[in-house]
C-alpha cells in the first residue's frame, strides 16, 4: 500500500499517542451516536405507543375525526395489499432467481443485464414507482381492460386507482428484495444434490422442480416475508394509486380502494385538526406499523440465519 509510510517517526511519541486516542475516540462517538439514535427511536415509539394499544384500537374503525376508535380498516387494507403483492411478485422473483442461479452463464450479456436491471430497480426512488403505477397500471393496463370490456368514464371497473394496481406497483418495487434472497437460498442448495439428481438421469427441470426448489422453500419464504415487510412500510408509491384517507366499508374486491397503515399515520401526523388529541392515535399506529415490519424482518432474519448455518454444516 502506497499509503503506508513511516508516519509518526518524526513526531513525538506523546503526540502520536494523543492522536491515536483522538482517532479511535471519534469512531467511538460515531458508533454510539448512530447506535443511540436507532435505540432511542425504537424505545421512544414503544414507550409512547404501547400503552395506547388495546383490542378496541385494533378492531374498530376510526371515529370522530381520527381521534377515537381504532385502525382496523388500515390493518385490513395493508394486509390485503401486501398479500396480493406477494402473490404477484414472488413467482416472478423466484423465476428470475432460478434463471440467475440455474440457467444463466455468468458472463452472458443477458445475465449481466438482468443483474443490472435488478440493481437499478432497487435504486429507483419509490415516488417514481407511484408515477409508474398511475401511468402504466391505472391508465394503460386498467384503462385498456376497461376498453376491452366496453366500460369507461364513470363506470370504469379497472381504470381508476385501486388495490390491485397498488399491489402491482409494490410488487415491482419489492422484486429486487425477493430476487436477492431467493438467489441466496438457491445457492445454498449443495451442488452434490444437483449432481446426484442429474447423474440418476433426471433432467434439468426435474432437478429444479424436485430437488432444488423443495430444498430452498424456506429461502423463498424468507424472501417473501422480507418483501412483505418492505411493502407494508412503503407509503409514497401508493398515495395516488389507491390508498385513501378513510373508507365507509372494508375493501372486498381487488378493484376497491383501501386504507393503509403508513398512509393513515401520514394523515394523522400532518392533517389532524387537533394535534394533542391525535397524539395517542399517532403513536399507537406507529407501533403497530413498526411491530408489523420489524416482526416480519425478524422472522426472516431467523429463518435466514438457520439456512446459513445449514449451509456451513
Amino acid at each position: 500500500m502506497a499509503t503506508l509510510r513511516h508516519s509518526g517517526t518524526t513526531r513525538s511519541e506523546l503526540n502520536k499517542k494523543l492522536f491515536g486516542y483522538f482517532a479511535v475516540g471519534i469512531t467511538v462517538i460515531g458508533g454510539f451516536v448512530v447506535f443511540g439514535t436507532a435505540l432511542f427511536m425504537l424505545l421512544h415509539f414503544l414507550v409512547k405507543g404501547l400503552p395506547h394499544i388495546s383490542w378496541e384500537f385494533l378492531s374498530q374503525a376510526p371515529r370522530n375525526n381520527n381521534t377515537e376508535g381504532g385502525i382496523f380498516p388500515a390493518i385490513y387494507g395493508t394486509t390485503f395489499l401486501v398479500l396480493t403483492m406477494a402473490l404477484l411478485g414472488v413467482p416472478v422473483g423466484t423465476a428470475t432467481a432460478l434463471y440467475l442461479t440455474e440457467y444463466a452463464k455468468q458472463n452472458s450479456f443477458f445475465a449481466k443485464s438482468v443483474r443490472f436491471a435488478v440493481n437499478t430497480l432497487a435504486g429507483v426512488p419509490s415516488i417514481v414507482f407511484g408515477l409508474f403505477g398511475v401511468g402504466f397500471f391505472v391508465q394503460f393496463v386498467g384503462g385498456g381492460l376497461d376498453g376491452l370490456i366496453g366500460k369507461g368514464g364513470s363506470s370504469a371497473v379497472f381504470g381508476h386507482p385501486a388495490l390491485i394496481w397498488a399491489s402491482a406497483t409494490l410488487s415491482v418495487l419489492t422484486l429486487p428484495v425477493v430476487i436477492v434472497s431467493v438467489e441466496e437460498a438457491l445457492r445454498a442448495v449443495p451442488r452434490e444434490l444437483r449432481e446426484a439428481s442429474l447423474a440418476l438421469g433426471a433432467t434439468k427441470w426435474q432437478t429444479i422442480w424436485k430437488i432444488v426448489l423443495p430444498n430452498s422453500l424456506t429461502g423463498i419464504l424468507t424472501g417473501s416475508i422480507l418483501a412483505v415487510g418492505r411493502g407494508a412500510g412503503e407509503v409514497a408509491p401508493i398515495i395516488f394509486v389507491g390508498a385513501v384517507y378513510s373508507l365507509p366499508e372494508l375493501p372486498t374486491s381487488v378493484t376497491d380502494q383501501f386504507m393503509h397503515l403508513g398512509y393513515h399515520l401520514f394523515v394523522l401526523a400532518t392533517q389532524s385538526p387537533d394535534v394533542e388529541a391525535a397524539a395517542p392515535q399517532q403513536y399507537a399506529t406507529t407501533v403497530v406499523l413498526l411491530l408489523l415490519t420489524f416482526g416480519l424482518n425478524f422472522t426472516a432474519t431467523i429463518i435466514r440465519s438457520r439456512i446459513r448455518k445449514k449451509r456451513l454444516a
Binding site: 500500500m1 499509503t3 503506508l4 491515536g20 482517532a23 479511535v24 469512531t27 467511538v28 460515531g30 458508533g31 451516536v33 448512530v34 447506535f35 439514535t37 436507532a38 427511536m41 425504537l42 421512544h44 413467482p91 416472478v92 423465476a95 440467475l100 443477458f110 435488478v118 440493481n119 430497480l121 426512488p125 415516488i127 417514481v128 407511484g130 408515477l131 409508474f132 401511468g135 391505472v138 391508465q139 384503462g143 370504469a156 381508476h160 386507482p161 433432467t203 434439468k204 427441470w205 429444479i208 422442480w209 412500510g233 407509503v235 409514497a236 385513501v244 384517507y245 403508513g262 398512509y263 399515520l265 401520514f266 392533517q271 385538526p273 394535534v275 406507529t286 406499523l289 413498526l290 415490519t293
Partner: protein
Amino acid sequence: MAPQSTGSHPFRRRKRHIGERIAEFLIRLTASVSILMIFLILVFVLREAWGIVSYLSGSSPTAQTEVTVHKSNTDAPETYGDSQPDSYGEEPAPANEPESYNPDVQETITDTSGIVPTETSSSDEPESYNPDVTDYTATDAGTEKESEPLITKTLSQNIVGEVWQPISSEPKYGIMPLILGTAKTTFLAILIAAPLAILAAIYTAFFAPRRLREIMKPVIELLAGFPSVVVGFFCLMLVADFVQSTFGVEYRLNAIVGGIGLAIAIVPVIFTITEDSLMSVPKTYREASLALGATEWQTAFKVMLPAALPGVVAAVLLGVGRAFGETMIALMATGNAAVYSGSMLEPVRTLAATIGAEMGEVIWGSLHYNILFMLGVLLFLVSFTINALTEFFVKGMLAKKFQGEA
C-alpha cells in the same frame, strides 16, 4: 412435471424434451421482466410527461382539450372536487394544498377569493395546515381556474423560473426552488450521515469489543427497517422541536430538520455497505500493517480505509441517491414551501415531495400533471445515473484493486 421413468420410448423422450424447453423459455422470459420494468418505468413516466411538448410548441391546444384527450381513461375532470370523489377517494383535497403554507408569496396574488389572509397567517405555522372549510372552497376555485391558464411567458421560461406556484390564477411552474431545495436537503443529509456512518463502520469493524459489536450491528441495521413515514413522523414530533430550541429558528420545519430526517434514513445504507467493504479487505493487509509496527488506529485509517475506499464511495453515492428520491420524510419534515433561498433555516420543498403532495389533487392530463411527471423523469434519470456509476465505475475499481494487489 410428473416423474417419468427413464424409458427410451422415443415419444416420451421427445415430450420431456419439449417440456424442458418450455420451462427454460418461461424462466428466461420471466427473468427479462426486471429489464422490461426498467424500460416501462421510463417509457410510461415519460409518456405522461410528454404533454408538455404540445405546450412548448406555441401552437398548443388549450389546456381544456388536453385534459379531455388524456382523460379518456378516467372520469371527467371538470367536476373534480365536488361531485365525483370515486376516482380520487374521499380525500379532503385541501390537506396537501401547497399554497396554504407557502411563505414566499413573492408576487401579489390577484385571487379575489380571499384566501390571502389565511395564507399569510399560516405561513410560519405548518401545523395550522389543517383542512379548513373556507380554505377548501377557496382553493377549489383556484383549481378550476387552473384549467384555463394564462400562459403569458413561454412555458420553457416558466419552468426554469424561480417561483413554483402551480395552483393560482396564473400558474408558475418554476422548478429551480425545488431543485435547490432537493440539493440543500441532500447535501445536509450526506454531510451528517456520511461521517457518522463511516466512523461507526470503522468502530464496529475494528475497535468494538466483540460482544458490543454483536449488539450494535443489528440495532443500526434495524434503523434501515424503519418505514420512512415513521422517520418523518419522528422528525415532525421530536427533531423539529429539538432544532427549533437549539437554533432558535423562525420556522419549525426547515431544511435542517429535513436533512436530519434524510440522514437517519441513509445512515444504515452507508454503514452497512462501508462495513461490508471494510470487512472484505483481505486480512493480510491488516496483519502486514500490524507486523510492520503500525498501531491499530493507523492500520484502520491508513491501510484498511484506503483499501476499502471504492466501497465507501459506492456507499456514499447510494446514500445520495436514496436521499435525493426520498419522499415521505421530505414531505413531512421540510415544511414544504418552495422558497428560493440559500438559507438552511427556511422551509424547503424537494422534487419528490412535490410529486407526493400535489399528485393527489392534480387534474389528470393537465399541464400541472405533465410537469409532475417530468419531475419524476428527472428523479428516475438521476437515480439511474447514480446507480450506473456505482455499478460500473466503483465496483470495477474494487475488483481491480483486490485482483491486482491481493
